[in-house]
């Protein structure tokens, strides 16, 4: 051995031996102050108003921006934190004065954006104007609360902002607390706007003009988002966790392995089977919250034979193998929406149990009454993007329908095509899920049963009597409101254009030392309430 190479070798060897030691210390330190979330799909934008911003992008926006108001908290049936849709609380606004035709917000004086600029009413107006102008999803969501025109948003002075109502809509106030109306730094955005792009849509895709509780430290699209706490945040209690890392792990098995080994702190994206198994794990906490205003259903196209016949639809509703689906597909991780005491309204809440159970004899009788004693052939379509639930579910339904003579061919549609196929409204029978952000029965019905025929009215159901009741419920209050809700729920159960099957759960698995998890209607994680240690 030559002298020179010997020295070289020992130097490298020493470095190699030393490295892991330094690393472990730094790592342990970082580990305690950091929350590591592992997920399946990455955000595609830093701007919730951007074209095609996806659900993980809502999570980024929720944690990095402020809104005027947020929602309060309550305990759910299992003693876990649950946002409270009846209680609006201050965020950027410290107080507000609600009048019949307008609402006036007082803004927090010491609030600043991440770059240090004070947050003023002109930023709020600019942000609201942006949301109602840029089109697509944000504009649509604002309109759901009758927030439609820039003229509605008025700067009174630097710290006072007014919204004028164009109609009396009880969803207006709740809609100001959803993820869309975020407060953006208008000066910073304007600096980066161009003549062709006055709202700085291009710039905001990758950059933040926000003032929320967390700042994005690093974003590697498709891989990870690293957040660091904004220590100057004034619009709520200071979050306990200093750093949050959201990393994409495409394989579900590995997400589970990371959690079980204690390398990751929290994950939403696991199959039902894994969640039901992890519930018994001593190392992890699993919380399952029923997703508000959501259901998985079997929809039938009422504009095509034979599903135009209500008897056929009822026969199908009696032929769905409900309990088998609950046990074999969901491993009990859902709330049943079948087998209620009767097929009637049970209170002002949604979703609720209908009166259908698996009763093949009754289904056969209904088929005979409808004039299809021999049954018929049809197709049953589903979204391959959600195959882990849809595939076994449709196979069970197919087997069961065969018993009443309906030969259903299963048609698997790739995720990318699903929306397009739904829009065409010509699939005879589908399984699908829908959930509304705002927890009002009429909000669900407005999207899913109303004759305006939104994309989510997948059955193409149009009934003027139903529409009248839904429209009435949107603006009525008191007994009149309850009567309208009772009316449309009874009608939906009797007419069954869609057969409710179950209400899904939002499951989350986390390490035992992670506390403060709160369920939100937008089903994304709010880092601000979490604590670790």
């Amino acid at each position: 051995m030559k002298r020179r190479t010997f020295f070289k070798g020992t130097a490298v060897g020493a470095a190699a031996a030393a490295a892991p030691a330094i690393w472990s210390d730094a790592k342990a330190q970082a580990r305690n102050e950091t929350l590591l979330i592992v997920g399946e799909s990455p955000p595609n934008s830093m701007d919730i108003h951007g074209v095609g911003a996806n659900r993980p992008a809502y999570e980024v926006s929720w944690n990095t921006h402020d809104r005027l108001m947020t929602y309060g908290v309550k305990k759910d049936a299992n003693g876990n934190d649950h946002y409270d849709y009846t209680k609006l609380e201050p965020e950027l606004a410290t107080e507000w004065d609600l009048k019949p035709n307008s609402v006036t917000f007082k803004l927090r004086k010491e609030a600043k954006f991440h770059d240090g600029t004070p947050i003023t009413a002109k930023d709020v107006k600019w942000s609201f104007d942006r949301a109602v102008t840029v089109g697509g999803f944000p504009t649509f969501q604002m309109a759901a609360g009758s927030l439609q025109k820039p003229e509605q948003f008025v700067v009174v002075d630097d710290n006072t902002f007014r919204v004028d109502f164009i109609r009396d809509d009880k969803l207006t106030m709740p809609d100001i607390g959803v993820p869309v109306p975020v407060i953006m730094n208008s000066e910073l955005c304007k600096k980066n706007a161009t003549a062709a792009d006055p709202w700085a849509m291009e710039w905001c895709k990758n950059k933040h003009a926000s003032g929320g509780a967390y700042k994005v430290e690093r974003w590697q699209p498709g891989q990870e988002v690293v957040y660091v706490r904004n220590d100057d945040w004034k619009n709520g209690p200071m979050p306990k966790i200093r750093r949050v890392i959201m990393r994409i792990i495409p394989s579900a098995g590995n997400r589970r392995a990371l959690l079980e080994r204690g390398d990751a702190d929290l994950s939403f994206d696991l199959p039902s089977k894994d969640f039901s198994e992890l519930k018994s794990s001593p190392k992890l906490t699993v919380i399952g919250t029923p997703i508000e205003n959501a259901m998985m259903y079997l929809g039938m196209n009422v504009n095509q034979k034979p599903f135009d016949n209500v008897k056929v639809r009822q026969a199908v509703a009696y032929a769905v193998p409900y309990q088998q689906i609950m046990d074999a597909v969901l491993f009990g991780q859902a709330i049943p929406l079948f087998g209620g005491a009767n097929n009637k309204f049970k209170g002002v809440y949604w979703p609720q149990k209908d009166g259908y159970t698996t009763d093949i004899a009754k289904a056969k009788a209904l088929m005979a009454e409808a004039g299809y004693p021999q049954g018929f052939e049809t197709t049953l379509s589903f979204d391959l993007g959600l195959a882990s639930t849809n595939e076994p579910l449709t196979v069970l339904v197919q087997e069961s329908l065969a018993q009443i003579g309906i030969k259903a061919t299963i048609n698997k549609i790739p995720g990318a095509n699903w929306r397009g196929e739904l829009l065409k409204k010509n699939m005879p029978m589908i399984t699908n899920a829908f959930g509304g952000w705002l927890n009002y029965p009429e909000y669900f019905f407005f999207w899913c049963y109303h004759g305006q025929n939104a994309v989510f009215n997948t059955m193409g159901y149009k009934n003027p009597a139903m529409d009248a009741l839904i429209d009435k419920a949107r603006f009525a209050t008191g007994p009149e409101y309850e009567a309208a809700v009772k009316g449309f729920i009874d009608m939906a159960f009797e007419e069954v254009p869609r057969v409710p099957i179950f209400q899904p759960l939002l499951n989350v698995a986390m390490q035992k030392n992670v506390t403060g998890y709160r369920y939100w209607f937008h089903r994304q994680l709010d880092y601000r309430q979490l604590a670790k240690g």
Binding site: A15, A16, A19, P20, I22, W23, A26, K27, A30, R31, T34, L36, V38, P43, N44, S45, G50, V51, G52, A53, N54, G135, G136, F137, F140, Q141, A144, K205, N206, R218, Q220, P221, G222, Q223, E224, I245, R247, I248, I249, P250, S251, G253, N254, A257, L258, E260, R261, D263, A264, G385, P414, G415, A416, N417, R419, G420, L422, L423, A454, V455
Partner: protein, 337 residues
């Protein structure tokens, strides 16, 4: 030599033009409507129509094609909708990730396969030949995602020898300053040994699973090619002339046997680079295969086109490099013929 290179490159032009046209057409022929997909949850028909206009999908196909060509000429491959980033930057960050993994796997595979193949041929019928046979059969019959999952389960979940299969670097390390995009090289250049070891540890399992798979064709090809060379007249002559066995095997036989091995090597490399989606999924590797498949699933046209185009260019460059290498290894091979 330069003239030769240019003439070879000129022959590649028609293939690239063909690839551009075909990928453009194919992505448009796919069923599915990106506008509907990206319109979001509460999409109304007018919201979808707005998005369609924004994406330029309401124009006729020839118009869209011209717009695509104009962008392409400026080095702009468009924007990915699913990640919100320009395709060029995405490919520029993801290609090195795949290339680093593939190259390391290939180096490992070559380091094992070629000695194994040579030995198996020299000592035909002995235990080492059987070992070679077993190794190659096992390598071919174990799909990469299976070995990958098995390794992750055994070495990470059960034994904790390997780091978490969570991508190119441990979550608590920051990536090195990008120079080449290869984490090993970049961290070594900047003297960041912590990141170097971190990156190497993350690379180990996926690289070994891929190496096992690519071992088989290389070892088989080396063995077969060595056998035929060893049985030829000039080797008999060399042996009869009393040359040392080492000289006969390495200087005479191996050098003549290596040509088909290089061909296979090129094929295996290009295959692994684009087709290791499964390994990338299992090890959360932010590589180019995973990127292309995700784009395909969401009907995201621009990345799919960008991917196919990049791969086509890479194949052409690789074939050219292999042809040039032939000339160096074997003076009898003439490139202009």
């Amino acid at each position: 030599m330069l003239k030769l290179l240019l003439s070879r490159l000129a022959t590649a032009v028609p293939s690239i033009v063909g690839v551009v046209v075909v990928t453009f057409m194919l992505t448009r022929l796919l069923p599915g409507d990106p506008a509907a997909y990206f319109a979001g949850l509460a999409a109304s028909p007018q919201a979808i129509a707005e998005i369609r206009t924004k994406l330029g999908l309401d124009k006729s196909l020839p118009e869209q094609f011209v717009a695509y060509l104009v962008d392409l000429a400026q080095g702009n491959l468009g924007n990915s909708l699913s990640t919100g980033q320009p395709v060029v930057t995405e490919i520029a960050t993801r290609l090195p990730a795949s290339a680093e993994l593939t190259l390391l796997a290939l180096i490992l595979a070559v380091g094992i396969a070629i000695p194994l193949g040579v030995l198996a041929a020299v000592k035909q019928g002995t235990w080492i030949d059987h070992l070679c046979r077993i190794a190659t059969t096992a390598g071919v019959s174990l799909p990469v995602f299976f070995t990958g999952l098995l390794f992750a389960y055994v070495f990470y979940y059960l034994l904790q020898w390997a780091p978490a299969p969570s991508g190119r670097l441990d979550v608590f390390l920051s990536p090195p300053t990008p120079i080449t995009g290869f984490y090993l090289i970049d961290s070594a250049l900047t003297g960041n040994m912590e990141v170097f070891w971190g990156a190497l540890r993350q690379l180990a399992l996926p690289a070994i699973s891929m190496a096992i798979f690519s071992l088989a064709p290389l070892a088989r090809m080396t063995r077969g090619s060595m056998l035929s060379v060893l049985g030829s007249d000039f080797i008999r002559t060399a042996r009869a002339s009393g040359l040392a066995p080492g000289t006969v095997v390495f200087t005479y036989a191996f050098r003549n046997a290596v040509l088909p091995v290089i061909t296979v090597l090129g094929m295996v490399f290009s295959f692994l680079l684009g087709a290791n989606v499964l390994v990338e999924t299992v090890f959360a590797w932010p590589g180019i295969g995973l990127y292309a498949v995700n784009a395909l699933i969401t009907s995201d046209y621009a990345p799919v086109q960008g991917f196919v185009l990049t791969m086509a260019v890479l194949y052409i460059a690789l074939n050219l490099a292999i042809d040039l290498l032939y000339g160096l290894v074997d003076p009898r091979v003439r490139l202009d013929s």
